[in-house]
Amino acid sequence: MPSNTASSSSAPAGSADSSASRTKSKRPKYSKFTQQELPACKPILTPGWVILTFLVISVIFIPLGVVSLFASQDVVEIVDRYDNDCVPPPARANKVAYIQGGSDKSCNRTLVVPKKMKQPIYVYYQLENFYQNHRRYVKSRSDSQLRSVKDENQIDACKPEDDVNGRPIVPCGLIAWSLFNDTYALSKNNQPLTVNKRGIAWKSDREHKFGKNVFPKNFQEGNITGGGRLDANKSLSEQEDLIVWMRTAALPTFRKLYGKIESDLEKGDTIHVTLLNNYNTYSFDGKKKLVLSTTSWLGGKNDFLGIAYLTVGGICFFLALVFTIMYLVKPRRLGDPTYLSWNRVPGGGR
């Protein structure tokens, strides 16, 4: 931007000295700061700068958009919604009764790999219309209890899943209680695919928020069972499913990492998934999806960013053109008093 330094700078007059010697002069000390004459850059939006700005934005945004879009296209994603299909047709009239009933919940799904997927391939479950961000839900946990054994009685925030007959539940609270408990067993060409469930949680959570010597206690032993159960012999820091679950999602549609497949999948491979459809999303009309996805440098598959970049870049390019034309066609006339905003409305003050 063009820079002009403040030009006016009147040095203090010499006459100050005479009065200073008589009495203590109250003459303000001259400095550029106190006289508000600091050197300053005073940019104004000249046509040149406006057009240049638009051009620069479009020059940056369009390539970035292209790159993002390519990155997104590179990602191979298989999404399989199974909440409806995994309920046997006779039970579909009352899915809630089915899911709460004691019948066999296993279900088989077949996925076809559309493109070669390089490892690591991430396995997610995606829930929709599930408000993990509800205030009651978000607050219903005890971080100190998760962190260390000695705080296991800090369960104030966890009601109503705080204790069982006076014995504190570890981990307490609604979040832990409603732990997602569908399980997926994957196989490719009848060969079981190993799904690695280690390292799916953030390292800081594993190491600092969930204690190594904190073990589940009295979990899911209340009168109503919520979601999944925990291995009482594994410390919380090793229960990565729980850790992932407990990092609450921001929005009602979310994915959480289930595990990683650490081998490539070829195009056309068929993957059989044997899943246990345990988790009740039917009460609140939630969807359940199984997602297999690779990642790029930009994360998972989402064309939005690339398209948005291209759009904004395009708009800026267009604006650069429009402004160029406007400046050429209708040069500004300073002499026209009607430009003064207060002249346009008689009486002025609004």
Binding site: N4, S8, S10, T23, K26, R27, P28, Q35, Q36, E37, L38, P39, C41, P43, L45, L64, V75, E77, Y124, Y131, N133, H134, R135, R136, Y137, V138, R147, K159, W202, S204, G226, G227, A250, L251, T253, F254, R255, K256, S283, F284, T295, S296, W297, L298, G299, L305, A308, Y309, V312, I315, C316, L319, M326, R332, L334, G335, Y339, S341, G348, R350
Partner: protein, 1194 residues
């Protein structure tokens, strides 16, 4: 000491009471003293025995005067109360308290911290301001005065220790410490001179006279055993009335205002007085007159309150919408035994989420939401504004261009509340004496025998001469001649006359030397001045009733007619004899002094010279000579010329009386004077009228009521800026009109609408003394005059003819009556200049209130004396001139400057900047909080309005304090649309403030809209680009903390870059705070994230571990920030180029370097919303017009 003894002796020879006709003194005895002792008149003072129990003086207040707002004890409760009276602060207090309940969506600490910070900062500021006030009080209260200790001994004591009944001795040029009853003075007849400048602004000295019975108590020891009782009225605010009796040795003597010496007036021309303290401290009339300083708030702040109410409304609305939806979804969660969102355990819930009592839950949710959305209301707004204003005030105080070298006084903003109001002034109400003028008269020109003398150039002429195309350019050599008068010789105060033709005795060679001689003799003889100083050396100074009297005598002395002695009956003058050319001493016997009065508008003396010739010497207004006489035409031309140059003119004339005529007159005048009938005055007038006729014209004098430096310039600039200027003065109408001319507020071609009550009917009514009838007739008369004036205005219609309204105090009293004040205001607003003369302090305040409330525009009052205090406090802004006279005006002003001319810079530069800064700052504040707050709301929509904050608690509470506060403060302190030079070059820029363009609802709502759409863009872009896929190549999906962190980052970037886009002035400071704020956010995220997870909770290592390593975070940030700012950028690019505001045009001018093209600048400058009607620019225009008009005729 010998000299002063001599002086005293000489003075004693004169009984001053006989020299002055103390008509006003005796007139009061009609007053009813029978009320004394009754209700309202119950005060009893025992003089000289303050310890007597009967005096009950303990019940009277002491003489300590306090102007502070708080005391040590009341500071905490009172200032806290003040704080929480602000509705926003109260709201935050409530949310702060509620945050300790389970209702709170965030932790209590994070909610309380910003509030404590904000309240603490404000209280510190209040405390410091009050401390300063306290220091000033101490200074005044510790002044010393001599007080009778007993046994005739006087001790010096502090003012504050005075109590009622004390006898004090006040010496020359001291202020009276309390209201005193005058007992005696250094003069035999107990007369003293008092300057009441501080009370009513009048500069002429007032004569007070003690009771005859006490006048002999002239030595300290006289007071041994002296005792008296005074019964008088209770303390009241009326400066001009006093009723009481003094009982002395069993005899009662009536007391009138004539015996009352008021606090804050000054003893002049009198060695000392003795007085008894009657009213002390807050009982004194001057303090009673000053109301409590009202705490003023600027228009912008009042509007800001409305915005805050609007925000409250929005918060309530959003909370309500949220509560309804929340209530419905909560109810649906558990209906008829069917649980929907089982993971929320709706079957076993606290009341806040209980589906069975969903309406109660919804109500509680409403409170929670109202707490969450409190981020809509900028908590740091008030404190930021206060910090900014204090810094702005420092800039005002530090402005080297507003420092007055001679008095060693910088400008001082005493309150910082009103800085931005300075940028919106619509009408300036100015005092005259000491404000526009420096209260000294200078003899500058004269016209003798039809020849004009005097090369002195007035301020106005100089100002006009500086402008190109002026016809006065011809005299530019004179201007240069006068440029360095100081260098040539020691300047004589009151004398600025330069003309070698008659100076140094050269006048004897002039054509009409005899006339000149008579002229100068008249100047030396016709006056009531008393000479002072050593008779032998030539250093004689004069004590005069008014400074113009003194100017005449000084002029006569400087021109060779030195008046050096006055006795009871004679005047001695050393003068140059025309025939011999030698200096001779001449003695004139003063036979009669015919005082000045307002109907005759002249004064005369009748003297007998050494040859026995009887001369009537007369000086007066221009009505003096009626029929054609020698030099009359020329003299009249000169007088008009002088008047137009703003000079006070007097015409001098004389005639010789023959013996018989004088005898006749003498008999009749003494008859008239000794008559006791009510029309004594008019009898005297009649007699004098008869003798003052057939005068022979000598010439005219022109005295400059010296304007302060640069006043015409300043008025012109202010007029160009579209500010109206009213002059409210206690002076006589003639004086006021003169100053109007001098300061370019009036000019010859203006139509003057004069409203006064000097009509014969009113006069005749006044003689009857029926008050009701007088009032009724007067009011009708005034109304009629106002209606006539309006008719004139209407008739002139769109003509360029400018009108001036001149109204005197008496009429003003009626014009300000409730039923006609609005008509009066309409008339006044229609006039280019308004001058109210003879107005009392109260009237000044009333006029100010009328203007302020009548048209709702901002008023600024400027004055220097205690008589202006009411006005200063009433006006939206009071500016005190810290002149030579007391501190009253300054103490009650909001801003003190040393000279009127600094008003130009104060308003056009500081006012404009402050207005711009504060208004932009407030708009921006709401913008940034809406941007932030509305994302919270949008996020709520995705949580079924369960009031989950989108961000970590401390992110929430530090937003206003850390990441967005400094840039906005920097904006408020440093931003400049155009530099000071351009502000002054294009005064019209000031209209942006007067029209309130920068703080119109359109602009405010525009900024709010900007906030809303920024929030929408940020939220939806972040949401769409983040969910639900993986965030990074490790497949981790983003949780709540990551969406929150990303959105927050975008907001911090957007609001700070928006700031960068909105301002047009980048100093290093701007760069530091803007980029620094963004950097601080990243730093905070890092550091806070590294704290143990107990503290950082959901923010634990989010940045280091999740956000920073993910490229998508950075890519999203870039995209969201640019996209959000793009609409504003397009808007301002279009506006700047195609619809620039006035400051935008000036920026273009500067940028394109066209500001050196005068024609181009003029075009921009003259683009005025209303034609300039006053000031010398307008005068030049008018002159041009009249020249053009007269051309075709000739």
């Amino acid at each position: 000491m010998a000299g002063s003894g001599l002086k005293r002796r000489r003075r004693r020879r004169i009984h001053l009471s006989k020299l002055y006709t103390l008509t006003c003194t005796q007139a009061f005895f009609k007053q009813d003293h029978s009320q004394i002792g009754g209700p309202g008149y119950s005060r009893l003072v025992i003089i000289n025995e303050p310890d007597s129990p009967e005096a009950d003086s303990s019940s009277y207040s002491d003489n300590y005067v306090r102007t502070t707002k708080y005391t040590l004890a009341t500071f905490l409760p009172k200032s806290l109360f003040e704080q929480f009276r602000r509705v926003a602060n109260f709201y935050f207090l409530v949310t702060g308290v509620l945050s300790f309940t389970p209702l709170a969506p965030y932790t209590a600490a994070s909610a309380i911290f910003p509030l404590l910070f904000v309240i603490g900062a404000t209280m510190v500021k209040e405390g410091v301001e009050d401390w300063r006030r306290n220091k000033q009080d101490i200074e005044v209260n510790n002044r010393r005065v001599k007080v009778h200790r007993g046994d005739g001994n006087f001790d010096s004591k502090e003012w504050k220790t005075l109590s009622v009944g004390d006898i004090v001795k006040v010496e020359k040029n001291q202020f009276f410490p309390a209201d005193l009853v005058l007992l005696s003075s250094s003069y035999e007849d107990a007369i003293c001179y008092v300057e009441t400048m501080n009370l009513d602004g009048e500069t002429n000295l007032k004569v007070k006279q003690g009771l005859e019975v006490t006048s002999s108590l002239r030595e300290d020891f006289n007071f041994k055993g002296f005792e008296a009782f005074v019964k008088c009225e209770d303390p009241n605010a009326n400066l001009y009335s006093f009723v009481g009796t003094m009982e002395l040795k069993g005899t009662k003597y009536p007391l009138s205002p004539q015996q009352l010496l008021l606090r804050d007036s000054k003893l002049r021309n009198t060695e000392f007085i003795f007085g008894a303290v009657i009213f002390t401290g807050h009982d004194t009339k001057v303090i009673q007159n000053s109301t409590d300083p009202p705490s003023k708030r600027s228009m912008i702040e009042r509007k800001m309150d409305k915005i805050i109410y609007l925000m409250f409304f929005m918060v309530v609305l959003m909370s309500f919408i949220g509560s309804v939806i929340f209530g419905v979804t909560t109810r649906d969660d558990f209906k008829d035994g069917v649980v929907k969102r089982w993971y929320l355990r709706p079957d076993s819930s606290s009341i806040f989420f209980d589906p069975k009592r969903a309406h109660v839950a919804a109500f509680y949710h409403f409170l929670t939401a109202a707490m969450l959305y409190s981020y809509f209301i900028p908590i740091s707004l008030y404190v930021s504004i206060e910090i900014v204003k204090v810094l702005q005030s420092i800039f005002i105080n530090q402005d080297i261009h507003m420092y007055y070298e001679e008095a060693n006084k910088p400008a001082r903003a005493r309150t910082s509340n009103l800085n931005e109001e300075l940028g919106q002034v619509d009408t300036i109400l100015s005092d005259k004496t000491g404000t526009l003028t420096c209260n000294s008269m200078e003899f500058i020109k004269c016209s003798v025998a039809g020849t004009a003398y005097g090369r002195g150039v007035t301020e106005v002429e100089m100002a006009m001469g500086r402008r190109k195309g002026s016809p006065l350019v011809l005299q530019s050599d004179d201007v240069e001649y006068n440029k360095e008068p100081f260098a040539e010789e020691a300047k004589v105060k009151g004398f600025n006359f330069r003309d070698e033709r008659i100076m140094n005795g050269n006048w004897v060679t002039e054509p009409h030397a005899d006339v000149i001689q008579k002229f100068l003799r008249l100047l030396a003889v016709c006056h009531t001045v008393i000479p002072e100083g050593d008779e032998d050396t030539e250093k004689i100074s004069y004590e005069a009733e008014s400074p113009d009297e003194a100017a005449f005598v000084i002029a006569a002395r400087e021109l060779g007619f030195e008046f050096y002695n006055r006795t009871q009956t004679s005047i001695s003058v050393r003068e140059l004899d025309l025939v011999t050319g030698k200096r001779v001493e001449r003695l004139y016997k003063v036979l009669n002094v015919l005082e000045f009065n307002s109907t005759r508008k002249r004064m005369s003396v009748i003297v007998q010279d050494e040859d026995g010739k009887l001369l009537l010497l007369c000086k007066g207004a221009d009505k003096l000579s009626k029929n054609g006489r020698e030099f009359e035409v020329e003299t009249r031309d000169h007088v008009n010329e002088y008047a137009d140059a703003g000079l006070r003119t007097l015409i001098l004339a004389y005639r010789e009386l023959d013996e018989k005529e004088y005898k006749d007159f003498s008999v009749r005048i003494s008859e008239a004077k000794s008559s006791v009938s009510a029309d004594r005055e008019s009898l005297i007038e009649e007699v004098t009228e008869k003798v003052e006729k057939d005068l022979i014209l000598l010439g005219a004098t022109a005295v400059e009521d010296k304007l302060q430096n640069g006043v015409p310039d300043c008025i012109d600039k202010l007029a160009q800026a579209g500010i109206k200027i009213w002059v409210l003065t206690g002076d006589k109408m003639e004086t006021a009109i003169n100053i109007g001319f001098a300061s370019s507020l009036l000019r010859q071609d203006m139509k003057q609408i004069i409203i006064n009550l000097e009509t014969p009917e009113i006069h005749s009514l006044e003689k009857t003394g029926e008050k009701d009838a007088i009032a009724k007739a007067s009011k009708e008369n005034v109304l009629l005059q106002i209606i006539n004036g309006k008719a004139q205005l209407k008739y002139a219609g769109g003509n360029s003819d400018a009108f001036a309204l001149i109204i005197d105090g008496k009429s003003l009293a009626y014009a300000l009556d409730d039923d006609i004040k609005h008509i009066f205001l309409e008339l006044a607003v229609g006039c280019a200049s308004v001058i109210c003369c003879r107005s009392s302090p109260k009237q000044k305040a009333l006029v100010t209130r009328l203007v302020k409330s009548g048209n709702g525009k901002t008023t600024l009052a400027i004055g220097d004396g205690a008589n202006d205090v009411g006005m200063l406090q009433e006006a939206d802004i009071g500016v005190g001139i810290s002149g030579v006279e007391g501190m009253q005006a300054v103490m009650s002003s909001d801003i003190a400057i040393a000279q009127f001319r600094y008003l130009e810079r104060l308003l056009l530069v500081h006012g404009h900047w402050c207005y711009r800064r504060i208004s932009t700052m407030i708009c921006y504040f709401f913008y940034k909080n809406i941007t932030f707050g509305f994302t919270l709301f949008l996020y709520e929509a995705y949580t079924t309005f369960s009031s989950t904050p989108a961000y970590n608690d401390w992110f929430l509470s530090l937003y206003n304090v850390c990441f967005s506060s400094l840039p906005v403060i920097a904006l408020g302190v440093f931003d400049q649309d155009v530099s000071a030079r351009y502000c002054l070059k294009f005064p019209l820029l000031y209209q942006e403030g007067v029209q309130n363009v920068l703080f119109s609802w359109r602009r405010i709502l525009g900024w709010m809209f900007n906030g809303f759409y920024s929030a929408v863009i940020i939220f939806f872009l972040c949401k769409s680009s983040l969910e639900p896929q993986a965030l990074n190549h490790q497949g981790k999906t983003p949780g709540k903390e990551i969406l929150g962190g990303t959105m927050y980052t975008c907001i911090v970037w957007v609001v700070n870059l928006q700031m960068a886009l909105a301002i047009s002035y980048f100093t290093l400071i701007q760069h530091i705070v803007i980029w620094g704020s963004i950097l601080v956010w990243y730093l905070f995220m890092t550091v806070y994230g590294e704290l143990p997870s107990e503290i950082s909770t959901s923010a634990y290592r989010v940045f280091v571990e999740a956000l920073a390593p993910s490229l998508s975070y950075w890519v999203i940030t870039l995209f969201v920030v640019v996209s959000t700012l793009l609409p504003y950028f397009i808007y301002s690019a279009v506006q700047m180029r195609f619809f620039p505001m006035y400051h935008g045009m000036i920026q273009w001018l500067r940028y394109e370097g066209q500001c050196n093209d005068p024609e181009y600048c003029d075009m921009v400058r003259q683009r005025s919303i209303r034609p300039t009607t006053v000031g010398f620019t307008a005068r030049l225009e008018a002159k041009k017009r009249s020249v053009r008009r007269s051309e075709p005729e000739s």
